[in-house]
Every structure is written in C-alpha cells, then in structure tokens.
C-alpha cells in the first residue's frame, strides 16, 4: 500500500470510478419543502412543508426558491438537534444561472459553503462530496441541499409561464421544492457506504424537451460502472432509484441495462415517476434538482429509517446543457453520480 504524507494510507478507491468509505458517514436527518402541486401528488405524506402557492408571499419565484432551500437546511439541522454553528460546511446547488437561489439561501446561514452545479444530479453530487468530507476527516458535520422551482426554471430554460404553448408528451415537469440532509460522523441513521462518480455521456440527443432520453445513457453507464467496480449484482440493492428520467428515460435505462445482460426491472424506480399523479397532466413525470432531493429526503429516507428498505442506490442524473448551447445546436451532455445508502 502507498505511503501517504501523514502515514499509512487507506485506499478507498474501487475499480475505475468508485469509492468505498472506510468509516461510512451517517445521514442523521433530512428535511424537505415543496410547492402546492407536489403537495397534491403521490408523496404528500412525506413532505415537511407544503407551500400554499409557488410564490409563498414573496416577491419573485427566485426568492421563493431561496426561501425553500434555507428552510429545508434549517429544518434538517433542527431535526438533527444541532445548531447551525455545528455545521462545518454546506454543499448545495440549484438550476438557475450562477446558482442564484443557493447563494441567496446560504447568505443568511453564515456557514462555510461550496456551491455545486450538476444540474439535476446536484443532490447526489452533494451527498457524495459531503460523505468524502466526513470520511476524509475534513469535517464532523455537513449539510447538503438542492432545489428547483418550476416557474423560475421554465422562464430561464423555456417560455414565460403565461404563454399558450402545447408541451410535448415526452416532456417533464420541473419540481418546485428543496431537499436537504445533514451528514455526521456520529449518530443514528442510514450510512453512505459507497459512491460512483459519473462521466459525461452524450448520445447526441438535441431536444431539450427529451431530457429523460438524453440522460438515460449516463444513468446506465454509471450504474453499470458502479456494479462492476464494487463487484455487486443489481439484486444487492433492495431498490435502485434514478433522479429524474421520467417514464421515457426509465424504460430506456431498463432496455440499456438489459442489453448489458442485467435485469433491473423488478428493483428499479425513477424519482421522477413517483411525485405526480397521472391526472396532474405533467406528461412524462417530474424533473429538476428537487425531484431526487425531495424523494430522497422524504420517501426514501423514511423507508430506510423504518427498515422498509435496507440497501438502496441513488443515481442523480443531470442534463448539463444551457439555453445558449441548445440554441447553438449542440447536443445535451449528461451525467449521473451514484451513492449507495445502507442501514
């Protein structure tokens, strides 16, 4: 084994892109907040707070998104019975240009902060990096968070909300909400045991309305890499979740994995297919940073705490395009990161 500067180095790297934590960090609390439409959806009992409308008495959608993230982080810290001063670092991000919502949310929290952009993979990216902070001995407690807001995202990426356009049936609905988690070296809760850092995968999809199909190859690439690196079979996990592929992307991942000789159809679900009801007319399901963030901090975390699920793999999936890149006819580069959470 290599000698590190400070002495014996434990090699936590596995295979090509994965890491296995030596002392797995504990997710000691989570919290979330959503908009009214998500509150009427399938997971309403798993949300800490449902806002009455998408503005919540604030002046702009962007302010509302900042409010959601600030509230989610504060609630998670409260639930952990900690104070904000005990948080060594905040890792968070959102979808808006220059991480607008995150920066204004964290401004008032007065803690060391690193902003992350991984589009809709941000929640998993922050969990992954937070776990590395703790296992590396650089912090004792970190808070991670991600947020998105339907109207703020629509106006940045697509059209004004009052414009009378027909959305294609393959398109998804950006979730209004924010999810946060506190990771600690001590305490009770499920542990982040392993992680896989994804590569950018681009299969040439150019339609920004078809993000599920653009991201599916990235998701299956990281999933396959994770299973190979950790020498696990898909059955090792009670459930494998992807972040926001929607109904089209979900089918594509199952197909792509089948081509590699792996059947994941029985223990695989997409967070984007779990939030809205069919009659809510969102078409292919949910998307946005908050899709994986609110499902993980709500439904999945509670399932882990009540032992309904014992081993899960969460894949955050992100479309890394911008309005400029698609107007310049570029395809959509996508990424997926994975964290394994076990009881």
């Amino acid at each position: 084994m290599d000698k590190a500067i400070g002495g014996e180095k434990v090699n936590k790297k596995r295979g090509k892109q994965s890491l296995v934590f030596a002392s797995p960090p504990i997710i000691t609390s989570t919290a979330n907040i959503v908009g009214p439409m998500e509150g009427e959806g399938l997971l309403q009992e798993y949300f800490d707070y449902i806002m009455p409308d998408n503005l919540n008495n604030l002046e702009s959608w962007e302010q509302c998104e900042s409010y959601m993230m600030e509230r989610a982080i504060k609630t998670a810290v409260n639930k952990d019975n900690s104070t904000m001063e005990m948080i060594d670092c905040i890792l968070a991000g959102d979808l808006l240009n220059q991480l607008m919502s995150t920066h204004f949310a964290v401004r008032k929290l007065n803690r060391p902060f690193l902003g992350l952009y991984g589009a809709c993979s941000t929640m998993v990216e922050s969990l992954l990096l937070g776990a590395m902070f703790l296992d590396g001995g650089f912090a004792n407690k970190v808070a991670v968070a991600a947020s998105s807001h339907h109207d703020a995202a629509e106006r940045q990426y697509r059209f004004p909300s009052e414009l009378g356009v027909q959305r294609p049936l393959g398109s998804q609905w950006t979730v209004t909400g924010s999810g946060a988690a506190v990771l600690s070296i001590l305490g009770n809760g499920p542990r982040i045991t392993a992680a896989t850092i994804g590569k950018i995968v681009d299969y040439g999809i150019k339609d920004p309305n078809a993000m599920g199909s653009a991201m599916a190859p990235a998701a299956s690439d990281t999933l396959l890499r994770h299973l190979q690196d950790t020498e696990r079979a898909p059955e090792y996990y009670d459930m494998i979740f992807t972040g926001d592929l929607g109904s089209v992307g979900k089918q594509l991942v199952i197909q792509l994995m089948q081509e590699k000789g792996m059947d994941i159809s029985s223990n695989y679900q997409d967070c984007g297919c779990m939030i809205y009801r069919e009659e809510q007319d969102t078409h292919a399901g949910a998307s946005g940073c908050a899709s994986s963030a609110v499902v993980f901090s709500g439904y999945i975390y509670r399932a882990l705490m009540t032992n309904k699920l014992k081993k899960i793999l969460l894949l955050g999936t992100g479309s890394l395009h911008s309005t400029t890149s698609y107007q310049q006819k570029e395809s959509i580069p996508c990424i997926a990161h994975a964290v394994a959470v076990e009881v």
Binding site: E59, S60, R155, F159, P160, S161, E162, L163, G164, V165, Q166, R167, P168, L169, G170, Y203, G204, I205, A210, S213, P217, V248, Q251, L252, Q255, H283, A284
Partner: protein, 160 residues
C-alpha cells in the same frame, strides 16, 4: 496525418454516428406520440371560434356604418385587447395547452406572445424587464413578417 489515421478517425466517427442513430431510433419508439386527431380537432374548433367571433365583430362595426377597412382595424384592436386580457387572467395558456395552433395563429395569440413575457419580466423593472423582454417571442415574427412583406412588395412592384 497519414491517410491511414484519417480513415481510422472517420471510421470512428461513422461508428459513433451509427451508435447515436441506433439510440435515437430506440428513443423514438418509446417517446409518446402526440394525439394528432384530437389536437387537430381542438385547433380547428378553437381557431374557428376565434375567427368567427372576429367576423361577428367586423360585421357589427360595419353595421354601425364603418367602412370595411375601418371595421377590420377596430376588430384587430378588440381581438388584441381580449387576447391580452385573457393572458392576464391566466386563461390563455390553459386554452393554448389544448388548442395549440388554434390559439397561436389568430391575432389573439400574437397578443398572448407579447403580454406573457411582459408579465413575466416585470420583476426586472420596466426598462430592462418589460421593455426589453416584451418582444422576445413576437420579435422574430415581426422581423420575418416584415421581410416577407418587403419581398412580396418588390415582386408586386416588378410585375406591375
């Protein structure tokens, strides 16, 4: 670069293209198709109703004794006002979701395309918000509409 290397590179490119095409085919199979018949019926009925209503207003103005040209100008004003009003009330986007081109093509859709961004960008102020963003969607329509009108005008002028 040697020829061999170039051919190897283009082979790689071809392989990449084939892989992308193969994937695109898979995506096309899984992506839900728009309900064409339903959409066409909605567009026909809604577009037809808006236009019939426009005709009704024109006839009404003509009945009041306005000339044909004046009547159609006033009709435009009324329809643009109604398009803007229903956008402000948050009704027009609900209509557009179902009617598609049926509510985009008539002049009420043009009003919608100007009022919607104006409302959306009010928070960025009246100059850089409303003023600058108002024509974000209608701008291209105006530019190419005027260019087309110019070209048609030139053709008409030459033929005379």
């Amino acid at each position: 670069m040697s020829n061999e290397m170039i051919s190897k590179q283009s082979k790689e490119q071809l392989k990449q293209q084939m892989k992308q095409q193969e994937y695109q085919d898979k995506v096309d199979i899984l992506t839900p198709k728009p309900p064409l018949l339903k959409n066409i019926c909605w567009a026909f009925v809604v577009g037809g109703l808006i236009c019939t209503f426009g005709q009704y207003i024109t006839d009404y103005f003509a009945m009041l004794g306005l000339s044909k040209k004046e009547a159609s100008s006033y009709t435009t004003v009324v329809l643009v006002f109604l398009g803007a009003l229903f956008t402000g009330l948050g009704v027009y986007d609900e209509l557009g979701k179902r009617a598609g081109a049926g509510s985009v093509i008539p002049i009420t859709g043009f009003a919608n395309s100007i009022v919607a961004p104006a409302m959306e960008f009010k928070r960025e102020g009246y100059v850089f918000g409303v003023g600058a963003k108002m024509f974000v969607i209608a701008g291209p329509v105006l530019v190419y509409g005027m260019i087309t009108a110019f070209i048609v005008g030139v053709i008409y002028w030459i033929r005379q």
